[in-house]
Symmetry: C2
Subunit: 170 residues, 2 copies
């Protein structure tokens, strides 16, 4: 079903690319204000919240595991050891490349599939429930939180940086 | 197509209900710290960001217009004049009730439909692109931003308040 592919692959790829644009603005802001852009990696909105670097790592894992769990594939392992914006960009690109290995036909029949999560104690979600109620909202949660951390720290990001371009037709 | 209904109606209804849970925690936090909970309505993460009250209004409008635009129905008008948490709850409930007027069959054939947006200067998105690339990410953006504003102000909200319960099966 092509809608599953759009939701689990094409749109996450677009959002990951949009993250690059937000990182561009983060670096530009740091340059202009003359602080080290890597400082942003440890910023957070509350002391018991994951910092920016971890938000991006979770976005990457969410996108990767979303497609992998739906299709029953093994996802590549990434170590969560990024210490710079350049390393975060590399992590994002690895996930984009991984997602590009999927084809729409890989998602045929996944709506009814049983998806057991590492923390679900053997219980399962249907593929559709996993995608709609867990994977998609979780992905946008961490992208928006990363965006909010930048926004709170003065980076000039706006809604269109988050949404990206729209395929308008005449 | 039932997946369209899940994405445009059932899941937004669930998220709107989850917002009630977050408002419960916001009020409990205000009571415990002895401040007026309505103060939270004007909180924001940056001086040029919409405050909490507006984030919730946009969530409500996003959910309402998402279903209405896909199906070509008129959406009810809501005035954006909420001044209290009780009024925000009422707004949320109106949108839940409105979404409950939809049936899965209302979304048959909407994937290929031309959706012209008020700001798209006559250009159109397909129904699928509108849902996947605009409506869904926009909805989660404003829910997560509302959540982040509460989180930043000390309200004890966590990821499960955002995601809500999952329909796990044995």
């Amino acid at each position: 079903m092509s809608l599953f592919y759009e939701l689990a692959v094409a749109q996450p790829v677009k959002m990951l690319k949009n993250l690059h644009g937000m990182l561009d603005k983060a670096v530009a802001h740091a340059d202009q204000r003359r602080f080290d852009a890597e400082v942003l990696l440890s910023c957070r909105l509350a002391p018991d919240q994951y910092p920016f670097v971890r938000q991006i790592q979770i976005v990457c894992d969410g996108a990767k595991f979303g497609a992998a769990r739906l299709t029953g594939r093994e996802a590549p392992v990434h170590e969560d050891n990024e210490k710079s914006i350049a390393e975060l960009r590399s992590r994002i690109d690895k996930v984009i490349d991984y997602l590009k290995s999927y084809k729409p036909e890989d998602f045929e029949g996944v709506a009814q599939k049983r998806i057991v999560l590492p923390w679900s104690q053997g219980k399962a979600l249907s593929g559709q429930d996993f995608l709609v109620q867990a994977s998609i909202p979780n992905l946008y949660f961490h992208i928006t939180t990363a965006y909010a951390i930048l926004r709170h720290n003065g980076v000039d990001v706006g809604k269109m940086d988050y949404l990206g371009s729209m395929p308008f037709q005449d």
